[in-house]
Amino acid sequence: MLRILLCVPHCVCRSLSLSIKQMVDGFGGLDSSEYRQFCSLACQAFNALRKSAGLVLNLLSLMSDAGIEDLSNNPSADSDGVLAKVEERFRLDLTDEQAERFFLGLINDCLAAIAPRVMDVFHSFSVARR
């Protein structure tokens, strides 16, 4: 049971690859204007990069036989499969507004649902160990 609890937050937080809790604390909490600015900048950046997804993916695919460890020898897929997954992350099927909502959803998933729970689990865990 503990193992499951520990794994779940990790899988979701991995999608943003950061420990978002401490980061948001640095903004001054969820209600601050900095946090809203952060969300808006992230969405703008996501949309700006989506417009150039072709360039990024093309350059990455040029590197597919250069012997980059995680691109050519990834245990989960071959280089085409890995690049397909990267392409999926760009969510080229969405419009700009949908993509914005998608990214806000990602941030919220990381924050609202998971982070407090992780902290709680660890908190109780470390208290219980005493």
Partner: protein, 390 residues
């Protein structure tokens, strides 16, 4: 990148050579690597002969090309033409077989020869190769030496000064491979350090003899130091493949450019990194960057308190300087998106760094495209951190 493709797939022959060298000088200036890779290709049984031609052509032309630095006073006022620009010019002009017939080139050659000690690009390459390889060799020997970290560090310092890598040796200034616009002529052995990790990477501080003008145009306003650089810190790493990190840094640079074109400056930190061989490389040491884990343990687990201590301003929001806060928000947003898109894994609090200027950035891209080491360790890091705070 397409030049590398041509080189790697063996589509290169002497006829393409001018184009490759021209582009190469123009873009990355990492000629040392170029000649190194060529040396490797020479060993190839089927294509080796063809590369031998390319290699000897490269050597002949580079030996003919004079190396000019910004130290020459007669050129100092001429800020528009950086020294490397003049190399590019002369290399491209060397493509014409009879240089003497071109009056402009001959005049240029004469003016270049006025310098007291004039070396060709090839000589500089050899000097750079022996200088950097020597330092890497010392790092490797100290890494494998018996003893604890302090013993290795002491040995590193003594070897660096004993074997003539400090400034006393009076080397000719050579471009540093990871930052070719800096000319270095020695290291500062006293500040050399070794990091406590399995591979014991060494932190080496180079003395910067000269700087090329082009450096300032590539840096954004915040990064531009007020005084001219006198030293530059580099992490020398052997035993690790840095090509993947280099790829990710290049992608971050690309994305940074794309975002800036869209009028979004997200204050990213694409630090300089270069893989010198499949098992070694140089990484820029970003001064004043602290891992988030240390920030949290020093400042009661709050990034806000870190900023309040390092960039205070009374009366501003949260008592933090607004420009620092804005940099922090921007870089967080930028790295948030980029790490998501590239699926960067193994994110724990030790490889996310923060500077007092608000720059937030990720290092160590050993796990990318959704790959991640074991699922549990990062979770436990949090445990320790939480329990420390209680």
């Amino acid at each position: 990148m397409c030049n590398w493709q041509t080189i790697y797939t063996g589509k290169l022959w002497a006829g393409d050579f001018d184009l490759v060298v021209y582009d190469f000088f123009g873009t990355t200036l990492t000629l040392l690597l170029f000649s190194r890779y060529l040396k490797v290709e020479l060993q190839d049984p089927t294509h080796g002969v063809r590369y031998r031609e390319v290699f000897s052509a490269l050597k002949a032309r580079l030996s003919d090309t004079a190396f000019t630095t910004s130290d020459q006073h007669d050129r100092a006022h001429d800020s528009a033409s950086t020294p490397f620009k003049s190399i590019v010019d002369s290399v491209s002009k060397l493509g014409t077989p009879f240089r003497g017939s071109d009056g402009g080139t001959a005049e240029r050659d004469r003016s270049v020869k006025k310098g007291a000690k004039q070396l060709s690009v090839w000589d500089v390459l050899l000097a750079q190769d022996s200088f950097i390889s020597g330092i890497m060799d010392i790092q490797l020997r100290c890494r494998d030496a018996r003893g604890k970290k302090d013993v290795k560090e002491a040995q590193l310092k003594s070897l660096l000064s004993k074997e003539g890598y400090d400034r006393k040796a009076q080397r000719y200034p050579v471009p540093l491979p990871s930052a070719p616009d800096l000319l270095v002529n020695g290291v500062l052995p006293d500040t050399a350090k070794m990091f406590k990790s399995t591979l014991y990477p060494a932190l080496i501080e180079f003395h910067v003899e000269g700087t090329l003008k082009s450096r300032w145009s590539t840096l954004s306003k915040g990064q531009r130091p007020e005084n001219p650089l006198t030293s530059y810190k580099v992490i020398v790493k052997t035993g690790d493949d840095l090509r993947q990190d280099q790829l990710i840094i290049m992608v971050i640079q690309l994305m940074d450019g794309l975002l800036k074109r869209g009028a979004l400056d997200l204050c990213l930190t694409p630090y300089a990194i270069i893989a010198m061989s499949p098992t070694s490389g140089l990484v820029e040491f970003v001064d004043g960057a602290i891992p988030i884990s240390q920030v949290l343990s020093k400042y009661n687990g709050s990034i806000m308190q870190f900023f309040q201590a390092t960039a205070p301003q009374k009366g501003a929001k949260y008592d933090v300087r607004p420009d620092v806060m804005s940099t922090y928000v921007r870089s967080c947003a930028g790295y948030c998106v980029i790490t998501f898109l590239l699926g960067v894994g193994d994110r724990h609090l030790d490889n996310i760094l923060l500077r007092a200027t608000g720059h937030f950035f990720h290092i160590d891209f050993g796990f990318i495209f959704g790959r991640d080491p074991k699922p549990l360790p990062p979770a436990f890091r949090l445990t320790r951190e939480v329990s420390n705070r209680i």
